[in-house]
């Protein structure tokens, strides 16, 4: 029997966007707060948002020289003009309030001398507007929101529950199905409103900054439910991933004055971006690093075989590193055994952020086919594509997006529930079908024709090799063929662990199935887009091509693979110009 759990609102995902949405929903006036279920495949506070390090963008002190216009312009230029400009404007206007709301909820922001909130420089921003708390910004934001939620009654936590499908009937959201990992039971979360806030898909790559949990589940859930997903070919490779694992060394390290050096000890950014240097946007810096390596000015780690360059913080001195970048020091010492006070850090670009995702409107409502909303379904954070990041996100705009849209979505849901009287109804046949797919199809066989972990490992190799910082036709075509072949192999995969409680093997199978489909969308989207824009850089098409490609990609699932279409970019403030730094 499927257990049915009823709530007004279910939030899938417990990172920054999910927690901020929850805090907003629970802040509804007393007596009017909806009942809320917070569902996550992780325990709360384990989400990847805790790994965000450097800062959160906001115009806090316009009286000192920053402005909303400047934040919007930096973001749009950073996006290589693929961002929807009206949405960017709304976003930048809401950022400052969020910094101050967190402040009033206990966030330990680092401070200026006069006790006001401190901000640091960040790549692609023309003003010091990355609001920070040492170099653990996402972590402290998560702590602040988690702690804030402890003040409320009326919400329930469903931790370690893996959502397997969205149930949508006649354009209306009905609920989602999940495996409760603790008990192994199949559960139907029935609700009138649902928010998908499950983060990005960085785990499609091997060399990645993201948590092992960042497998793109929510994006796949929408795709699998027949909804289009947007701009998936735009992946951000963060310039400074620690060798050999790819874990993140914050852009704040360069914001505080760190240099990038090649094997000759040259600050090579002079060659590529003489005005912004190391604080150019991430796509620019990542390409510069890979060019240095390609032209023989990189270094090589013999154990992992990876090529890299150096991030040098030595000139910052011990005191600055200890006070502003303690986590970077800790990571360097614990994971590669070097102290950045004395030695440069080995780094190379690492898969970091999914610019694309589930297309939503300015209230975070999911846009279905033909620009019609799906009633009762929202997406927020990295899972969503508003699009405010376009082809390349600026550092410190992602945590800001999670907070801003968490609040926006929370408010919109409270409004929606007040005006929508009808209770959620079941969709029992769809739930039963899904239970059969998961338990009869994947679990009960206990033997598998192919090894899910070998398939996952091969997928990551393919993505690292051909769908990385630089791309070209032959490599992408090969990647598409490989991914299709892996999809074929995956059809024979079953969970070999037949247990019910904490069957991570079954969860791995479900994740990898989704990852393969998303990888196909990414690789085919990258093959289709015959231009270079932001994070998508084609060696065979090195120029941006506004005449043909100033548009968002949409991909919809069919039995034969993704079907592609496009929607125009909303240009409301600035016409695209050449992007130079």
């Amino acid at each position: 029997m499927v257990e049915v759990i009823d709530h007004d609102v279910v939030i899938v995902g417990s990172g920054l966007a999910g927690l901020r949405t929850a805090a907003e929903v629970m802040s509804a006036p007393r007596g009017k707060a909806p009942t809320l279920g917070l569902v996550s495949k992780l325990a709360l506070m384990r989400s990847h948002s805790v790994a965000a390090e450097g800062g959160t963008a906001a115009v806090l002190y316009p009286e000192l020289g920053d402005s909303l216009e400047l934040h919007a312009w930096d973001t749009i230029k950073g996006s290589d003009f693929l961002a929807d400009q009206d949405s960017v404007w709304k976003f930048v206007t809401l950022c400052p309030d969020e910094m101050r709301q967190l402040e009033r909820w206990g966030m330990p922001w680092s401070r200026k001398e006069d006790g006001r909130i401190a901000q640091r420089p960040f790549g692609g921003h023309s003003y010091d507007r990355a609001t920070f708390a040492q170099d653990k910004v996402g972590f402290f934001e998560m702590r602040t929101l988690y702690d804030k939620l402890q003040e409320f009654d009326g919400w329930s936590r469903y931790e370690e529950a893996f959502v397997t499908s969205l149930v949508i009937q006649d354009g209306t959201f009905r609920g989602c199905t999940a495996i409760d990992m603790k008990s192994g039971r199949f559960v139907f979360f029935r609700s009138r409103a649902c928010v998908i806030a499950t983060g990005g898909a960085g785990q499609l790559w091997k060399f990645t900054a993201t948590s092992v949990s960042t497998t793109g589940d929510g994006i796949w859930l929408a795709y699998q439910a027949g909804l289009p997903i947007e701009d998936m070919e735009f992946m951000q490779f963060h310039p400074t991933g620690l060798i050999p694992t790819g874990i993140l060394i914050t852009e704040g390290a360069r914001g505080e004055g760190g240099h990038l050096l090649n094997s000759k000890g040259e600050r090579f950014m002079e060659r590529y971006a003489p005005s912004k240097m190391e604080l150019s946007p991430r796509d620019v810096v990542s390409r510069s690093i890979m060019k240095e390596i390609a032209e023989g000015r990189g270094l090589k780690d013999e154990d992992s075989g990876l090529s890299y360059v150096h991030l040098d913080l030595r000139h910052l001195g011990r005191e600055k590193i200890d006070s502003k970048l303690p986590f970077i020091k800790e990571l360097s010492m614990k994971f590669v055994g070097l102290d950045p006070v004395d030695e440069p850090i080995p780094i190379k670009p690492t898969a970091h952020y999914t610019m694309g995702g589930i297309p939503v409107d300015d209230n975070g409502r999911v846009i279905g086919g033909g620009s019609r909303e799906v009633k009762g379904l929202w997406a927020a954070g990295e899972t969503a594509c508003v699009s405010i990041h376009g082809a390349n996100r600026l550092g410190s705009n992602s945590t800001a997006e999670c907070l801003v849209y968490g609040r926006v979505v929370g408010k919109d849901i409270v409004r929606f529930l007040a005006s929508e009287a009808d209770a959620a109804e079941g969709a029992s046949s769809m739930v039963a079908e899904e239970e059969t797919r998961v338990f009869d199809g994947l679990l009960k066989n206990e033997s598998s024709d192919d090894d899910v972990y070998a398939i996952k490992a091969r997928l990551k190799e393919v993505m690292d090799k051909s769908v990385y910082v630089f791309r070209e036709e032959a490599g992408l075509a090969e990647a598409v063929r490989e991914v299709k072949a892996l999809k074929e192999k995956f059809k024979g995969v079953r969970a070999t662990d037949g247990g019910r409680q904490f069957n991570y093997n079954l969860q791995d199978v479900l994740e990898v199935g989704g990852m393969l489909e998303l990888a196909e969308v990414v690789a085919r989207g990258a093959l289709n887009r015959t231009e270079s824009r932001g994070g998508h850089s084609r060696l065979d098409y090195p120029q941006r091509d506004d005449a043909n490609w100033l548009k968002h990609t949409l991909a919809s699932r069919t039995d034969g693979g993704p079907r592609f279409s496009s929607v125009p970019v909303r240009i409301t403030m600035w016409k695209p110009v050449e992007r130079k730094y």
Partner: protein, 271 residues
Amino acid sequence: MALDKLVLEVLRSGGKKARYELKFRKGMTVLDALVEVRERQDPSLAYRHSCRMGICGSCGMNIQGIPRLACQTQVSSLGKDVVKVEPLHGMSVIKDLVVDIDPFLSMHTFVKPYLIREDLAERDGSDREYRVLSDEVARFLQFDYCIMCALCYSACPTVALDPDYLGPQAMAQAYRYMADPRDEGWDARINLLDRAHGVWRCHVAGSCSFVCPKDVDPAKAIQMARVEVLKKRVLRRTAKAGSPLVNPAPAGAAKQGTRAPPFDFKEGGRG
């Protein structure tokens, strides 16, 4: 020590010890070894993990007799070619290395771990910011490093004897908010700590601070909280932080703005 292979000995559900032989590679963590076991040898092995970088708090387990994070424990640092891994002690096991941390989390919730202000409209609905100096942040920041991994809770000998004991993590979090100049919840929290299962039950074993992977030093927080409790008994005190600035403040207004008075024990506290 030159390692080329190792044996991972895992205490699994039901009390049986499973031994997995693995090839050692440079930089291998205990988590890497566990991942390799699940992916290559035994997909039924259950353990939690996520970030791989010591910040999400998922992978707490008992390694060579000490509670540690698997992701930041280098196999080579253990100096053994048989690595013994068990679930965190003092917590009920759900499967293999996965334990029930709900009792631990409920203690955290119990101490009201959020900023308490009298003026809720200001806290939840205004556009203001409080002014806090860097040295005031420093008074509580260390205690805010807590990643809720429960290693301290597992290591604490008092938790093992008294299931109602708040434990080092929760008391450190209570103190974190008490030491925050923006907070007005001193009275609400002090009574939660000044009780048999609160600060007085701590035997100052210090094991919490010893195992903490983030240098939170809960033992210190408990001692600081004790001082506060004693002062409550001696002095009748009220706690009221200063009013926040209206934002935006005019440029140059910094010096005139009211800020919360520092949290100073010598002067008998705030107010």
